[in-house]
């Protein structure tokens, strides 16, 4: 390793970081360990999960569905969603003739998905809203699991 070169020619740490980023990216696609409920591309709805200090937020990207046609439930720390979407409703055409489609890429039909949430959640503290095609589910964390700020006092 040519460590006696100037840093601007060869910085081993930067190279390593870059390699790590590449490997991370590869692993996202081909990791041998993926969540058992993970789905292939093209599934509906697409799901993102994030957390704050006191809750877990689940975003289900489900445009054009009727909220009363969706079943959302939580059992233990597993959140399940199922329902049905009639993609042709959005056309606003009185009588839909399937042969008149040039292109059909949007999801149509029944769907069901489940995701595992962190152990820190309290299943009794759930609320869900539907806005702009995204179902946002907010699950509060168990009291003792909420992140607490630790104040650093000057000595």
């Amino acid at each position: 390793m040519p460590i006696n070169w100037g840093l601007e020619f060869f910085d081993p740490f930067r190279e390593f970081e870059r390699l790590q980023e590449e490997v991370d990216r590869l692993l996202q696609l081909t990791s041998p360990f993926i969540p058992i409920r993970a789905v292939a591309r093209g599934t509906f709805p697409v799901i993102n999960i994030g957390e704050t200090s006191d809750s877990v937020l689940v975003y289900l990207f489900a445009p054009g569905v009727e909220p009363d046609k969706i079943d959302l439930s939580i059992e233990g720390n597993i959140l399940s969603v199922s329902g049905e979407r009639d993609a042709s409703r959005a056309l606003k055409v009185e009588k839909v003739d399937p042969s008149r489609y040039y292109r059909q890429e949007r999801f149509n039909g029944r769907f069901t998905r489940a995701v595992t949430l962190p152990e820190s959640i309290d299943p009794s503290q759930v609320e869900a809203t539907y806005q702009n095609g995204i179902i946002k589910v907010r699950i509060g964390k168990k009291e003792e699991k909420k992140a607490r700020r630790i104040e650093v006092k000057a000595s």
Binding site: P35, V46, I47, N48, I49, G50, E51, T52, S53, V56, L57, Y59, F61, A62, P63, G64, V65, A87, S88, A90, L91, K92, V93, V96, R100, Y101, Y102, R103, Q104, E105, R106, F107, V115, P118, Y130, Q131, N132, G133, I134
Partner: protein, 131 residues
């Protein structure tokens, strides 16, 4: 050739990862034809009618939507299948559409574009008279 490569390397390193521009996501579309019009429907969850833009430029139909209300800094990602804040897609369209009468609407994250055909282009039934 080598010079071009070093130039590219230089610009890539100047950009801090945080400000690197994300590529827009490609929304899935359905395209349906009726006698009077072509209807295009695109899934853009998170987009409102204020944050969507539909325009026609030299026989290209562009649709762009920005996701409003993205999670703030306090939300830490745990599991992310959809990474991005913008949708974009474009199609070329023929001259048979009446561009002045194009309608677009946005509802529950679904964009619907109605492209009516010019009157003269609509199929006309040919009447067969019995002699």
């Amino acid at each position: 050739m080598a010079e071009k490569e070093t130039k590219e390397l230089a610009t890539r390193e100047e950009q801090a990862p945080a400000v690197r521009r994300e590529r827009p996501m490609i929304p899935p579309v359905d395209i349906y034809e009726t006698e009077e019009a072509l209807i295009l429907v695109a899934d853009m969850p998170g987009v409102t009618k204020e944050s969507v833009e539909v325009k026609i430029d030299e026989n290209v139909l562009h649709m762009r939507g920005e996701i409003v209300d993205l999670p703030g800094e306090e939300v830490e990602p745990l599991y992310v299948e959809l990474r991005g804040s913008e949708y974009y897609r474009a199609f070329t369209i023929g001259p048979e559409f009446d561009l002045d009468k194009i309608e677009a609407s946005m509802e529950a994250g679904v964009l619907r574009i109605y492209l009516p055909k010019v009157e003269a282009e609509r199929p006309k039934k040919i009447e067969i008279k019995v002699a």
